[in-house]
C-alpha cells in the first residue's frame, strides 16, 4: 500500500515541481519526452509483452499527429477534438496494419511493419494539398479546453503529464489483465495458447489496436509542442529511434520507456551543442546498455534499489 502511494506521489510531485520551477524551453522539452515516452511505452506492449517487433510505430504516432494537426487547422484546437482525432487515427492505422502484418511473425513482421510505415510516409510526403508534403504543416491554432486556451508551455506540459499518467495506468492495467497475460502467452507458448483455444490473431490484434490508441493520443499532442508536424515524424527512422529508446530504457517495464526517451532526446538536444557526432553517443549508450544492462536502465535502477533495500534491512 505504502509503495502504491509512493508510486503515485513521486511522479505527481516531480511533475508539479517541474511545472513550477522549469522555464518554457525545459517544459516543452519535458512535454516532448513524455509524449515520446507514451508512444515508446505502447511499443513496449507490443515488443516487450507480445514479442511483436515493429518498425512501423512512427506511422501510428505520426499519422495521428497529422490527423490532429489537420483537424485542429480545420476546426480549432479543442483538446477533445485533437485527442479524439489522434486516438481514432492511431487505432484505425493500427487495425489496418494488424490485418496485414499479424499473420506473420519475426522477420516478416518486422519488414511488413516497416513497409506499412513507409506507405504512410509516402502519403504524408506526396499528398501536398493535405499534408504540406516535405514542408509539413504549420500555422496550428492554440490548444483549448472549453473556454480556456492552453497555449503556454506549462499548460502543454501539464496536459502531457496527465496524458502520460493516464496512458501508464491504461498500459499497466492492460498487461496485468487476462488479455495482457494471454499476450505474454502468445509470445512464450504460441502453440499451447492456440491449443487452449485462444485466437493468437485476436489477442495480438487487440494489443496492437490498444498500442495504436496510446501512440495516437501521444501523437495528437505532438504537433503542439513545436507548432509544426512534418514527414520526419512518420519516417521509419523515427520508428527505429523509438526502438532504440525502448532498448535503452528497458524492454518489458513500461516506465522504462520514459527514461529511454529522456536519455535519447537529452543526448540529441544537449550533446549536439558540443559535437556534431551526437549520434555516435547514442550508439555508444545503446551498445553499453545492451552489453551491461540487457533489460535497460529500468532494470539497472531496479537492481540498484533492491541492493539498497537489502543493505538497509
Amino acid at each position: 500500500m505504502k509503495r502504491n502511494i509512493a508510486m503515485v506521489a513521486l511522479p505527481a510531485a516531480a511533475a508539479a515541481a517541474a511545472a513550477l520551477l522549469a522555464d518554457d524551453f525545459v517544459l516543452r522539452f519535458l512535454a516532448e519526452i513524455l509524449l515520446f515516452g507514451i508512444a515508446v511505452m505502447s511499443l513496449d506492449i507490443l515488443i516487450g509483452f507480445g514479442g511483436l517487433m515493429s518498425l512501423g510505430h512512427a506511422a501510428l504516432f505520426g499519422g495521428a499527429a497529422y490527423a490532429a494537426a489537420i483537424a485542429a487547422r480545420q476546426w480549432g484546437g479543442d483538446v477533445a477534438l485533437v485527442l479524439g482525432s489522434g486516438i481514432a487515427t492511431g487505432m484505425v492505422l493500427a487495425a489496418l496494419m494488424g490485418v496485414v502484418v499479424l499473420r506473420s511473425g519475426h522477420l516478416f513482421l518486422l519488414i511488413l511493419t516497416l513497409l506499412m510505415g513507409q506507405m504512410v510516409w509516402e502519403v504524408a510526403f506526396h499528398w501536398r494539398e493535405v499534408t504540406g508534403g516535405a514542408d509539413g504543416l504549420r500555422g496550428l491554432p492554440a490548444l483549448s479546453l472549453g473556454p480556456w486556451t492552453l497555449s503556454t508551455a506549462r499548460a502543454l506540459f501539464l496536459l502531457a503529464a496527465l496524458l502520460a499518467a493516464v496512458a501508464f495506468v491504461v498500459g499497466r492495467s492492460f498487461v496485468a489483465a487476462p488479455i495482457g497475460r494471454a499476450l505474454v502467452g502468445t509470445r512464450e507458448e504460441p502453440i499451447r495458447m492456440a491449443a487452449l483455444g485462444y485466437s493468437l490473431f485476436a489477442v495480438r490484434f487487440r494489443a496492437l489496436v490498444l498500442a495504436g490508441a496510446l501512440a495516437g493520443a501521444a501523437g495528437a499532442l505532438f504537433p503542439f509542442v513545436n507548432l509544426y508536424v512534418g514527414p520526419q515524424s512518420v519516417h521509419w527512422t523515427q520508428s527505429a529511434a523509438m526502438v532504440i529508446m525502448l532498448v535503452i530504457g528497458g524492454i518489458g517495464s513500461l516506465w522504462g520507456a520514459f527514461i529511454g526517451s529522456a536519455v535519447y532526446l537529452g543526448i540529441q538536444t544537449y550533446l549536439s551543442a558540443y559535437t556534431d557526432r551526437w549520434q555516435l553517443c547514442v550508439g555508444l549508450v545503446f551498445v553499453l546498455t545492451v552489453l551491461l544492462l540487457p533489460n535497460g536502465i529500468a532494470s539497472g535502477l531496479r537492481i540498484l534499489r533492491d541492493r539498497l533495500r537489502r543493505r538497509g534491512a
Binding site: D23, A134, L227, Y228
Partner: protein, 413 residues
C-alpha cells in the same frame, strides 16, 4: 608524487584562507547588496559589458552538412575580422545543428531562445526549417535574421521579427527563365529538382516566368531530398530529348546528380541550366570536376563579382578554397548583424529601432550593396548569371551577366 602534495598544500591553504575571511565575506556581501541595489542605475554600462549573444541554427549533419559548415565558417571569419566584438561589445556565437529537419530545427531554436537567452537569432538553410521557425520566433518576439530562402517568408509569411539578408527563391528562378529566354528563345526545357519547399519554388518560378515569355516547358521531375541514385531520372530526361534542362539540387544531392550526369554521358549533349546552389563554388564544383563545365546558373553569390572580391581574398587567406553561397551568406549575415549593432550603439535588442536603422540605409556586404525592402524586411540583391568555365586549378563560376537590384514581388504577389 610532488604533484599530489602540491595539490593538497594548495587545497589546505585555500580552506584556511576561506575560514579566515569569513568576516570579510560578510562585509563583501554588504557591499554586494548595496551594489545590487544600485545596479539598475548602472544598467546601460552593464549591458555594454555583457556579451551580445547570437544564436545560429544551421545544418551540421544530414544532406546540408557541408553547407552548414560553410555558413558557420563564414560567420566565424567575420567575427575573427571584427576581433570578436561588434561596436566594442564582445560577441558570443552559439551554433546549433538542425539536421535539415524542421522538428529538430524548431527544438534547437527554442533552446537558443529559452535556455541560452540569445539576443539575436540567425541561420537556417532548409526552407522547410525556415518556415517552421517562422511561427516560433514570431510567437517569442525574437529578432531573427533568417537565411532560408522560401518565397513565402517575403510574402504570406512575413513576420515583423524577421529580416532576410539573403535571396528569395523567386529571384533565382525567374532570372534563370529570363536569361534562357534572352539567349535561347523557344527552347523546350524540362525541369528536375529536389522535392521540398525550395525545389518547388525554384521550378515553379522558373516555369511561370518562362511561360510568360512564351517558352515551352516539358515534363517536370521530382526526387526526394537525399537521393543516392539519379539513374532513373537521367534516363527519363534523356528519353525526353529536351533542348535544355533546368535543375535544382543542393549539397550532396547536387554532387551526386552532376557526377551521374557525366557518367550517363548527358554532359555536353543537353544544355544544363540551374540555380547557383546546384553549382556552388565551394561545396559542389570542387567535388564534381569538369562534369558541370558549360552549365549556366543564376545566383546572388559570386566568386568573380567585384563586390565579393575582398571577402574572397580573406576567405582564401584563411586557408579555404573559393567561397560558395553559404560561407558568403554566413559572412554577409555577420556584416548585417554588425551593422545593426553599430547603428544602434551596441544594443540591437530594441527591435523596432534596429529594423528602422537597417531600412534607413543599405549595408555593404559580400553580396554587394544590400538595401532592405521595408514592406517585408527582404534584402534587394544583384543576381548574377554564371557560366561554369575552366580555370587554373579547377572550374569557376564566371559572371556573364548581372540583373541589378532585384526586388521580390513581396506581400502582394
Amino acid at each position: 608524487m610532488p604533484n599530489a602534495t602540491d595539490h593538497e598544500g594548495r587545497a589546505s591553504s585555500a580552506s584556511a584562507r576561506a575560514a579566515a575571511s569569513a568576516a570579510a565575506t560578510r562585509r563583501l556581501l554588504l557591499v554586494g547588496a548595496t551594489a545590487g541595489a544600485l545596479a539598475p542605475l548602472a544598467t546601460p554600462a552593464l549591458a555594454q559589458a555583457r556579451p551580445l549573444r547570437i544564436g545560429m541554427v544551421t545544418s551540421l549533419s544530414g544532406p546540408f552538412a557541408a553547407l552548414g559548415e560553410s555558413m558557420r565558417a563564414g560567420m566565424r571569419l567575420l567575427l575573427a575580422q571584427s576581433g570578436e566584438r561588434f561596436a566594442d561589445r564582445p560577441v558570443e556565437l552559439i551554433v546549433e545543428d538542425d539536421q535539415a529537419r524542421p522538428d529538430d530545427g524548431v527544438r534547437k531554436a527554442r533552446k537558443l531562445i529559452g535556455q541560452d537567452r540569445v539576443d539575436l537569432l540567425c541561420g537556417v538553410i532548409h526552407s522547410g526549417v525556415a518556415l517552421a521557425l517562422r511561427d516560433v520566433v514570431t510567437e517569442a518576439q525574437m529578432p531573427t535574421f533568417l537565411l532560408g530562402s522560401a518565397n513565402d517568408l517575403a510574402r504570406k509569411a512575413v513576420s515583423p521579427y524577421i529580416l532576410r539578408p539573403t535571396k528569395t527563391n523567386w529571384m533565382l528562378g525567374s532570372t534563370a527563365a529570363r536569361r534562357s529566354h534572352e539567349t535561347h528563345p523557344g527552347a523546350r526545357v524540362v525541369t528536375a529538382a529536389s522535392d521540398y519547399a525550395a525545389g518547388r519554388e525554384f521550378v515553379g518560378d522558373f516555369v511561370q516566368t518562362y511561360q510568360e515569355f512564351g517558352g515551352r516547358i516539358g515534363r517536370q521531375f521530382w526526387t526526394p531530398l537525399g537521393s543516392a541514385d539519379f539513374g532513373p531520372l537521367l534516363t527519363a530526361i534523356a528519353a525526353e530529348r529536351p533542348d535544355s534542362v533546368y535543375v535544382f539540387f543542393a549539397g550532396s544531392d547536387a554532387v551526386r546528380f552532376l557526377r551521374q550526369w557525366k557518367e550517363y554521358r548527358l554532359a555536353g549533349r543537353i544544355r544544363l541550366t540551374g540555380t547557383g546552389a546546384c553549382f556552388d563554388q565551394e561545396d559542389v564544383l570542387p567535388a564534381v570536376g569538369d562534369a558541370a563545365l558549360g552549365a549556366v546558373n543564376t545566383f546572388h553569390q559570386s566568386p568573380t563579382a567585384p563586390a565579393s572580391a575582398a571577402f574572397v581574398e580573406a576567405y582564401r587567406t584563411s586557408g579555404k578554397g573559393l567561397p560558395g553561397e553559404f560561407s558568403t551568406t554566413g559572412y554577409a549575415c555577420g556584416q548585417v548583424l554588425r551593422a545593426a549593432t553599430e547603428r544602434t550603439g551596441g544594443d540591437p535588442t530594441d527591435w523596432a529601432r534596429t529594423r528602422q536603422a537597417l531600412f534607413d540605409a543599405p549595408v555593404d556586404t559580400a553580396f554587394g550593396r544590400m538595401p532592405f525592402d521595408p514592406r517585408n524586411g527582404q534584402a534587394i540583391l544583384d543576381i548574377h548569371v554564371h557560366e561554369v568555365r575552366s580555370a587554373p586549378g579547377g572550374v569557376i563560376n564566371t559572371v556573364v551577366h548581372t540583373y541589378p537590384q532585384l526586388r521580390d514581388p513581396g506581400p502582394n504577389a
